[in-house]
């Protein structure tokens, strides 16, 4: 079974739902580790910096996005790591997943973006297309 799972999150409701599914799968296996990946988006760097008072606040807003996910994992006693990547969300997740050779990637069908595509978010789309291991998309 899966020993290491990559869970890509952005703090949206979809990523929380993906978390719940990830936890279900992980709890089936004895020594499974979930790597929670959050990408700090290059294209939002300017907006986020201008709209925050200093680095501490920036870090706090990002922590807040991952916090409910962490809490859920903790409550189910799942072993997990948090990994912050920087770059464009899609390619960053794909590179990381392929480089670290994860056995499974779990991601929500869409994220926080306001411009919603019809069925699948663009990041989820890229991940499905380019990640080499199986991908679980959570609706």
């Amino acid at each position: 079974m899966y020993k290491n799972i990559l869970l890509a999150v952005d703090g949206s409701d979809h990523s929380l739902r993906a978390t719940k599914e990830a936890v279900k799968i992980a709890s089936l296996v004895g020594d499974c580790t979930i790597e929670v990946v959050y990408v700090v988006d290059y294209s939002k760097a300017k907006d986020e910096v201008i709209h925050s008072m200093g680095k501490e606040e920036l870090e706090l807003t990002r922590r807040k996005k991952v916090l409910p996910i962490e809490e859920h994992m903790k409550s189910k006693n799942i072993t997990y790591n948090i990994k912050i990547l920087r770059g464009e969300p899609g390619p960053s997740i794909v590179d990381y997943a392929n480089k670290e050779s994860f056995q499974l990637v779990i991601i929500g069908s869409r994220g926080l973006n306001t411009l919603q595509e019809m069925v699948l978010g663009s990041v989820s789309h890229k991940v499905v297309k380019r990640v080499k291991c199986p991908v679980l998309i959570v609706k």
Binding site: V40, I50, M53, K55
Partner: protein
Amino acid sequence: MSEKIKQEWFSNIRGDILSGIVVALALIPEAIAFSIIAGVDPMVGLYASFLIAVIISFAGGRPGMISAATGAMALVMAPLMKEHGLNYILAATILTGIIQVIFGVLKIAKLMRFIPRAVMIGFVNSLAILIFMAQVPYFLGISNLTYIFVAITLLIVYVLPRFIKAVPAPLIAIILLTAVSIYSGADLRTVGDLGNITQTLPSFFIPDVPFTFETLQIILPYSIALAIVGLLESLLTATIVDDMTGTESRKNRESRGQGIANIITGFFGGMAGCAMIGQSVINVKSGGRGRLSTLTAGLFLIFLIIVLGDLVVQIPMSVLVGIMIMVSIGTFDWSSFQYLYKAPKSDAIVMLVTVVIVVATHDLSKGVIAGVILSAVLFVAKISTIKVTAKDKNSGTLYEVDGQLFFASVEGFIDSFDFTVKNTNIIIDFSEAHIWDDSAVGAIDKVVLKYRENDNEVTIKGLDSASKRLVEKLAIYTQADPKLSTH
């Protein structure tokens, strides 16, 4: 130390050189356009971009950040150019550098913390509006062909990046449309109509201005404004690059570096510049991380100008206008509309005031200063509202004080008490309050003594330790026969 130099310069050679080339290509149209905004020859902006990039790659505090001639600085300099000419611009550039070095030595970067985000948002928005407004004379009501070229440029710069990522879209627009205009012989204004391109390296000379007090009087206000605007944009950009790369930068070294770059640039015929948000983001996105990327950008830019200068003068103005419209759209903070709606009213007002003042005066530094002062005043106004709630007890009245008691809030504090009562127990609870200064203690004295005049028993409780020390040291109501006049 050598380990650090190695890391900052040579840890990412391939990525730095490639991204530096991309940035150089993206810098050329902007350097020319910003020269036109300032009203100087394109060479002044191109030399500035070359020199500042090269110098800052050694002297700056944020590896991977791109500094060059910028719109913000060009806008500040434009009136000086109009009234006094290029030599005064160069003198002002040198003086700006000196002021920035002093700021760096005095560690002014720390003060950035005092610039509220509402002012920052106002700063980038007004910068975007001014850059856009500066383009209007170059495309409005000139010819239909101008409109068409602007529209095609915008189409290229917004659509092409979806398909071609390696080459900056603005450059493709320039090459394509310049070729079209040369071969079709279209009747368009070109860069050459607005100034010359000299295919030589810059050389040292002392600006030709009289060394008098009068000259200083002319350039000093501009230099102060330039120093403030330059550091503001540079330190903001440094924070953005810090965030994108997840690394730290040395902000005071950056201020000093900006100063050194401007001093040298002024002596070599370039105009003042600073860090550029857009270009630095392009650099990081293209893989640039180290000092080598900034150096490459500067060197490759001047190489291109020396080799291709003849072609640069043939670039149609309308293409540059299109690119500048893209720059202003990219600079504008589009989440501001949401911010106006969601943020506290006072923040929204500060943001709007900053924008309005900049657009009205065409001076970014005035807007920033006004914004900072206004938000300070609003902050004091907000914090000086003190809440006193009265609760009737069987033996008297309990007043609960909530807030900061200091010179600005004492009036509201005193007015919240009802002094008409007689012969009762008054308890004033300061558990949720803090006493800051003499006037606060004086106000407590006044309240206590006024109650005592009508034979009320007054008890003060809940003071935190710092407030208690202040009250014990200064208050007179605790004395045997207190008289208010001693205060």
